[in-house]
Symmetry: C2
Subunit: 99 residues, 2 copies
């Protein structure tokens, strides 16, 4: 699974579009999009959805990519990252049962 940044960079380059064009569609400065592609900034949820639409890409795939970036980021430097992810999974499972 790629980072969201890599993924949208691929998509953009396949169409040979400049940052400017895609950024305009998202209504942000191209600088921000550049940073998103490189993982120096996080995209917002809304932006991910817009990007999926724009590139006619699978929305779920991009969301998973985006979410997992956030998760990975949050624990990456932690020694206990793996255990935390495992425990988080259980918590989420449990939460789902309640509904």
């Amino acid at each position: 699974m790629d980072s969201l940044g890599n993924r949208i960079k691929q998509l953009r380059e396949k169409l040979e579009l400049p940052l400017r064009t895609v950024a305009a569609y998202l209504d942000i400065d191209q600088a921000v999009l550049s940073k998103i592609e490189h993982g120096h900034r996080k995209a917002t949820r809304e932006q991910v959805l817009q990007l999926a639409k724009y590139f006619k890409a699978d929305e779920d795939e991009l969301i998973v990519s985006w979410l997992s970036d956030k998760l990975a980021n949050e624990v990456q430097d932690e020694n206990l990252a793996k255990q935390a992810l495992k425990a988080a999974k259980k918590k989420v499972d449990n939460f789902k049962k309640k509904k």
Copy 2:
């Protein structure tokens, strides 16, 4: 795996201490500690470490509890939570290899 809040509430009640006392040790208002115990506020990393020390509890256990709370929280309402966690795990594994 319990939430951090539950865990420290257990620890505090076993010693029959009021919020006030533990909060004083953390140098925060008891209101904040109450909220942390109930999961209405997140603790800071530093606070988790202080709590482990205070209660002579296992630091790693509390950190995992705290981290997994954060992770679970971030994806809890997402349909794709499970897939995101799975993908995050791979990303973290990959990251570790690089070091």
